[in-house]
């Protein structure tokens, strides 16, 4: 996502990254991983719950997840240990200019996220529909 900042700006999309991490750790993560977008803190995971994002031990900790973490570390990502609830799953939502949800993608496991090109294509379509 962070690598696509320019494309997202061209589409006039506001990207909001939401985390339940501590403030200090979120600042570190933002500085090291993704300085382009704001990180909003939902420490109690109230908004996670509102948006229907689940917690799952079996879907979170498995070989697929461990392999993904290994790949990230090999790519240079620093491991800072587990910050917060390790079984909380994430997701991606697109909200159009009228405030309507156009995409509600709830990850089934930590490696499950929509491909960024697919997100960009959907955002482009929303812009086209608006014109």
């Amino acid at each position: 996502m962070c690598q696509h900042r320019d494309e997202l700006r061209q589409l006039d999309v506001e990207v909001l990254i939401i985390s339940f991490s501590s403030r200090g750790y979120a600042r570190t993560w933002q500085k090291e991983v993704c300085p382009s977008f704001p990180v909003l803190l939902d420490r109690e995971r109230t908004i996670y719950h509102t948006y229907g994002l689940e917690r799952s031990l079996s879907r979170t900790w498995n070989l697929k997840t461990l392999w993904r973490y290994i790949q990230l570390m090999r790519a240079g990502r620093r491991w800072h240990g587990i910050q917060g609830d390790s079984i909380q799953l994430g997701g991606d939502f697109i909200v159009d200019a009228s405030g309507i949800v156009r995409l509600a993608y709830r990850s089934q496991d930590p490696t499950d996220r929509p491909a960024v090109p697919d997100l960009l294509a959907q955002l482009q379509q929303i812009q086209t529909d608006k014109e």
Binding site: V13, L40, L41, D92, F93, I94, A97, G99, V101, R102
Partner: protein, 40 residues
């Protein structure tokens, strides 16, 4: 549950620098909400 075609629930959260941010502030532009897992 939040679903496609329905209004997105509004929220106000704070940034790591303690600035409040509301989803409705971005009405008029599309928004991409990226909910992370733990930051590790």
């Amino acid at each position: 549950m939040v679903s496609e075609g329905n209004p997105a629930p509004d929220f106000t959260l704070h940034t790591a620098d303690d600035q409040p941010v509301s989803l409705t502030a971005y009405r008029g532009r599309p928004a991409l909400l990226v909910f992370l897992r733990h930051l590790g």
